[in-house]
Structures are given as structure tokens and as C-alpha cells.
Symmetry: C2
Subunit: 414 residues, 2 copies
């Protein structure tokens, strides 16, 4: 059954790769319309999932994410319309040059093919991921968490309704209609060469499983241990504002800061920054100097420095200038997103050059690590791997390229 799904996706992908932008956009609009029209059916399916969920011993945050209401359904529909409004990423000419023999070489963006999305029980991922794959000309195979099975199925029905109205193949967006975990294993093996890329969306254990078992390329980030380094040349008010925003705006997202590093030559910054964090409701765990600076600072263990809290907790320590910060980040970081606060341009450029992370910022919050904030529109995730996609993965990163060469009879000399 899974292999059949893969073959159908491959066939659909071939048609999608040639689909006109108008056809894809009209499908996205029809999907949004179908979602709005099916609000009652989606809520009924969601109620069924929630009933089962309540019988289990699930975390409140998990159930909260699973729960739909009219405004969340409207957000899904609106999200699809936003994707329709994006520039079509397929067919872009990303380079073009002429060879001395007259051949013209163009590098043009083409879809990747078939993308498998494995996600936990967040119903909105069904619409988001399906829409982004369609916009970028890829077929999608969606495998959501078993706890959102009925909701996902109801949403997928709306997506397929949109495909149908636009005359696109239904297999462009398929849902794995089984909660059997073996299906995930089959997807990770690539369904007989019929999956080109896997994108996991969910917690660390899901991502870790996908990364360790997948036999096809994966776009993912295991965790975001993001750092803010406050240099001695930082403006205090800016530093406080960015540190508190980077940590506390939303603590549960991967771009939230987990460690604050402060230049050991900046005694005047240490106390006020700690105070600002504590005042914002954050628990601060620190090294000896930080503990000495403020009695409310708890001791940080070695493990704390590489912990993604996703909560109102932060680790804070001193480093020997920007070099110390760069070394600390190389040792404990996750190559996701790091920021330096300084008024010294040379120090900033050193940090931006030497920190080996997907996103490096100067005088701005790590919470900008987001496709929407980059201007990409929606994102399918954030990648900390180094190949193909890095940072927020929007529709452009869901394409690859091919070389088209136009000649007039050129043969290669001996």
C-alpha cells in the first residue's frame, strides 16, 4: 500500500512539475474555500480525535495544539491563500551564461519531486505542508501523528477537493491512511526511490528518529540552542531589550535563546542584564561570576550549557571577549541561530564570519529565525544541516535546479 502511494506521488510529481502557476494558485484558493466550507466537518473530526486524546494521559500543551476552533480553521485557509500569493519558485533562471563556442547555459529552478512530511499531531501542518509542496511543484506524502488522524483526514479531503477543482492530480497531496508506525519506517526508506526528501515536523525524539533512520535526504533541525553574546561594546538598553526578547517573547520556538554569553570585560552590563531577565519572569542559571553578580542566579550544570529548555529558563555565563563566545558556541551550539550585541563593527563582523550557524545576527533578536520574518512567506521548517537548504526552508528551498543548454550543432572537440 505504501509503495503504491509512492508510485502515485511520483506520477503526480511529473505532472506538477509542468503545472502552470495559475493552476497551482487556483488549487490553493479552492483548498482555502473548501476548508472554510467544511468547518463543521473538520470540527467534528477534531472532536473525535480530542475524545480519544482525553482518554489518554497526554500533556495539556499537546492537547492544546491538537485542538481546532473556527479561528484556527480560518488561519489554515488564510495560510493557503498567502502561499498562493507568493512568487512561483519554479522556472526561475538563477544563472545564465554563454560559452565561447556559442552554447547558452541556463540554470533553472525545478521541483525536487516527492516530499515526505512526518509530523506530530498538529492539524495545521497538514494544510501548511501540503500547500507549500504544491506551490513548489512537489508531490507531498503527509504522515501526521495518530492522535490527529481524523482531523488530518478531514483537512486532506479539503486539499484534494482543491486539487480536483483545479484539474491537478489528487495524488499531488496524499495522506498516509494508517496509524501503523511501520509506515513511517517505509517512508524513511524512500518508498522504492519514490521519496526524494523527508521533512520531519515535531519534537526532538521524532526528529532524532528520522535523522538516524532515513535513507533519503532530510531537512531538519534537532534543536535550537541559540546564543546571544553581549560584547563589552554593547549598548546596555539595546542589550537588555534584545536579550529579553530573544529569550522570552516566545520560549517554545526553536529560535528562542537558551544561553546568554556576556563579555567578561563588561562588568557594567552583567547585573542589569540578569535583572532584566529575572524581572521578565525568567529563571537564570549561571556560572560563578553570574551567581556572584546576582544572588537569584542558580548554579548552571555542565549539561545546562547544551540544553534546549524551550521554557522560561536561561543559562548565562561570561566569556573572554568575542573569541571566547565563538569558541563556546562552537562547543555547545546547534548551528541554528546566534546573535552578537555590540557597537563595534569589527567585533560584529568577526562574529558574523566565524560563527558556523545557519543564521548569525548583529544587534537583532534570535527570534527572527523564521521564514516569515525573512520574507519567505510560510516555511516548512528550519534546517541546520549544511547541504541544499540552511535556515528557514521556504518554497524556494523546496526546489532544485537543472542545466538547460541551447546550442546550434556544437560538438565537443577531441
Amino acid at each position: 500500500m505504501m509503495l503504491e502511494l509512492g508510485k502515485n506521488a511520483r506520477t503526480a510529481a511529473k505532472l506538477l512539475a509542468q503545472a502552470k502557476p495559475e493552476a497551482k494558485n487556483s488549487a490553493l484558493h479552492a483548498m482555502a474555500k473548501a476548508i472554510r466550507a467544511s468547518q463543521a466537518a473538520i470540527l467534528a473530526a477534531n472532536a473525535k480525535d480530542l475524545e480519544t486524546a482525553h482518554g489518554k494521559d497526554l500533556k495539556a500543551s499537546f492537547v492544546e495544539r491538537l485542538t481546532l476552533n473556527p479561528s484556527r480553521i480560518e488561519a489554515m485557509a488564510k495560510g493557503l491563500e498567502d502561499i498562493a500569493a507568493l512568487k512561483d519558485p519554479v522556472g526561475r533562471v538563477t544563472a545564465r551564461w554563454t560559452r565561447p563556442n556559442g552554447m547558452e547555459i541556463s540554470r533553472i529552478a525545478v521541483p525536487i519531486g516527492v516530499i515526505g512530511i512526518i509530523f506530530e499531531s498538529r492539524p495545521n501542518v497538514t494544510a501548511d505542508a501540503g500547500g507549500l509542496c504544491l506551490k513548489s511543484g512537489n508531490a507531498a506524502i503527509l504522515r501526521g501523528g495518530s492522535d490527529s488522524f481524523h482531523t488530518s483526514r478531514a483537512v486532506t479531503a479539503c486539499l484534494q477537493q482543491g486539487l480536483k477543482e483545479a484539474g491537478l492530480p489528487l495524488a499531488a497531496i496524499q495522506m498516509v491512511e494508517t496509524t501503523d508506525r511501520a509506515a513511517v519506517g517505509e517512508m524513511l526508506q524512500g518508498l522504492g526511490g519514490n521519496i526524494d526528501l523527508i521533512v520531519p515536523r515535531g519534537g526532538k525524539s521524532l526528529v532524532a528518529r528520522v535523522q538516524s533512520e532515513a535513507r533519503v535526504p532530510v531537512f531538519s533541525h534537532l534543536e535550537g540552542i541559540c546564543h546571544v553574546y553581549v560584547d563589552k561594546a554593547a549598548d546596555l538598553e539595546m542589550a537588555k531589550s534584545i536579550v529579553v526578547n530573544a529569550k522570552m517573547r516566545r520560549t517554545g520556538i526553536c529560535g528562542s535563546a537558551e544561553t546568554i554569553l556576556i563579555d567578561q570585560h563588561a562588568d557594567h552590563l552583567l547585573k542589569p542584564i540578569i535583572s532584566a531577565l529575572i524581572k521578565s519572569g525568567c529563571e537564570v542559571r549561571g556560572d560563578a561570576a553570574a551567581q556572584k553578580a546576582d544572588i537569584a542566579v542558580k548554579p548552571a550544570s555542565e549539561e545546562d550549557w547544551s540544553t534546549e529548555y524551550l521554557d522560561a529558563i536561561v543559562t548565562l555565563g561570561l566569556t573572554n571577549g568575542v573569541d571566547g563566545a565563538i569558541a563556546h558556541i562552537a562547543k555547545y551550539g546547534s548551528q541554528h541561530t546566534e546573535s552578537i550585541i555590540t557597537a563595534d563593527p569589527a567585533t560584529a563582523e568577526k562574529f558574523l564570519a566565524e560563527v558556523d550557524s545557519a543564521i548569525v545576527l548583529h544587534n537583532a533578536s534570535t527570534q527572527f529565525a523564521d521564514g516569515g520574518e525573512f520574507g519567505f512567506g510560510a516555511e516548512i521548517g528550519i534546517a541546520t544541516g549544511k547541504l541544499h537548504a540552511r535556515g528557514p526552508v521556504g518554497v524556494e528551498q523546496l526546489t532544485t535546479f537543472k542545466y538547460q543548454i541551447r546550442g546550434n550543432g556544437q560538438i565537443r572537440p577531441v
Copy 2:
């Protein structure tokens, strides 16, 4: 020992990522000089390898590739100087834009990190691959075939001499100093996270092993089953010239054509093309129509259509126009390189758009599938995978990118 090699490479990669173009180029020139100065030592090492090789039952072509002489040594040195002359691929700003809140986002090219190259007994790959990795700011771990062990070691010594003279870390280019095959397995596992990419260089069995066992990304092509499709609207002289060049210029390279497809509506083209191939010394295996057109055509088996001959043999058959050709290529091809010969622009554009290969050509020979012919300078290989690199892999494709964001205090609103 292998783990140590990986750690040293990682440390070197950090330094290389920040190395100035001048330092890298001066190392490349010093390497070339050292290779020329060490001609006697390299030839002596090569003689040792050849002596061992002659005791084994090796193919003549294998021994031929293993054999060095003064002109081949000079070509190695010249190759390194050519790499020095290429534009530095690191630090290129590939995109830059400003967000409404004033943040400036730049996407800049950075090295990938550590690249493992696993190759058969071709001594020139040592210098080529080492030079390309250095130019792109990557550390290289070279694992050559055991039959060229002494030669590779002598060449590596010259590369390290160049690194030393330029003040770059010796671990920027390391050779695996064991012929134990387990070392390859360790590399394929990534040496504890210290290899970011593997590039295999060699025959199909080597590439197949790397593709099936590697736990890190691989740039490779298993085979090049390249097609030339001759449309009914093709100019006969151009078709003959390109078909013969695509197949016969060099039969042993991956871009040589293995299958010729001819429009079934082009009776006037069939016989002359077959005759031209046979006259050039090529064995033609064909379908019933081809056999009927020329008595010298041998019957093609089902297997022939997906065989990479790498020899003066070609499979030739008729298809129902360009649609038939596209379908045939999707079924039997290897997504490497395909060409259409036609004077009809619409037919050409259809082929260029719908054939899902790394390189698609119109009215030009498939033998142009080569980094040098693209203007990339030397290439480390050709990739038929879809992610990151596709087609010839030159120094630009050996880089990745990161986002640098420059702000002035921006925090993300709630």
C-alpha cells in the same frame, strides 16, 4: 586513528573557512612547485605501486590509469595552478535584501566543512580533489585505492609541503594512511560527525557501495545512461555530427551517449544515422525498425536500454515523437544528461522542460557534460542526486551558505 584524522580535519576546516584567498592560492602554487620538484620521488613511488600491480591480474586500462610519467606529473601541477586561477567561491554574496524593519539579510557562500573523497587508483585525483577542496575552503580526507598507495602518499607530501609554505594547517589535506578497507566504512559513517560530505570517484561498484552505506550526504552519479533524441525536424548533417560525437568522441566518460532515440516519423534520418555510427566504428544494437533499416544492426535486449556500455556500442530505437522519447528517458535513463536534435523550437523547449535530468541540451553533444566545458574550471565529479549539487560539481558547489543579518536593535514583536 581514523577518528583522530576526522578531528584534525574539523580543526583545520575552521581555520580554512577564514583563510584569505591569497593564502589558499599561494598554497596551490607552492603545491604545484613541490610536485614539479618531486618528480623523481613521485615516479619512484609510482614504480613501486606498478611493480605490485604487475604481480596481480589487473586490467590493462587499470594499470594504464595508475601509471605516471613526466607529462602526467606536469598536468597535475598545472591543474593546481588552474584551480588557483579560479575566482574564490567563499564569501560571495548570493542574495541581499532589507526587511521592512530595517534589518539587512545577506546570504553568503561559506565552505561546507570536511569532505571525504574515496577514489580508485588514479593518482591525479589526489592532487585534483585536494586542490578543489582547499580552494573552496574545505578540509579534505583522501582515501585512494590501495594499488596507488605509494604514489598517493608521495603526491600528498607535496600538497602538504604547499600548505606548510603558505602557513595553512597540514590537516587541511590528509590522506588515510592505511589500505585497510574498514577505513572506508568508518568514513562512510562520518568519523563521529567530522565528515560533512563524501565524494566517491571511481567505477560503479565503488559508487554503489558508498551510496548504500554512507550516513552522510554523497555527491555522486552511479552511471550515465545518456540519450540523444533525433526529432523528425532535425537537420540530418547536424544530427549525424552530434550523434557520432556524443557516442564516439570518448566512449569511456559518463557523458557519452549510450542510447540514440529517433523519431518514428523520420524515415529519412534513420538509415543515414545508423550508417554514420557504424562507419565511426560503433556497434549498433537496435529495435525491430532499426534492424530493418540496416542489416548490420544487432538486436537489442531489454537490458541493453539501461546499459552504460562505456564502449563503442550503442542502443538505437524509434520513439513516437518527443513524447515517446521523454517517456523512454524517464523509464531507462539515469537523470544525467540528455540531448534533443531538432530545428523546431517548441519541440526543443518541451524536451528541455520535461526531461528530468541534471543536464538537458538542445542541438549539442552530451559530451559537454563536464565542469570544464561549463566554465567551472576543474570538477570534483558529476552529481545526479537532486539536492545541493546537480551536474558538474565545481568549487562553487563545494560551498554552502549562511545568513548574516545586520540590525540596529530590532526585536521581534509579539
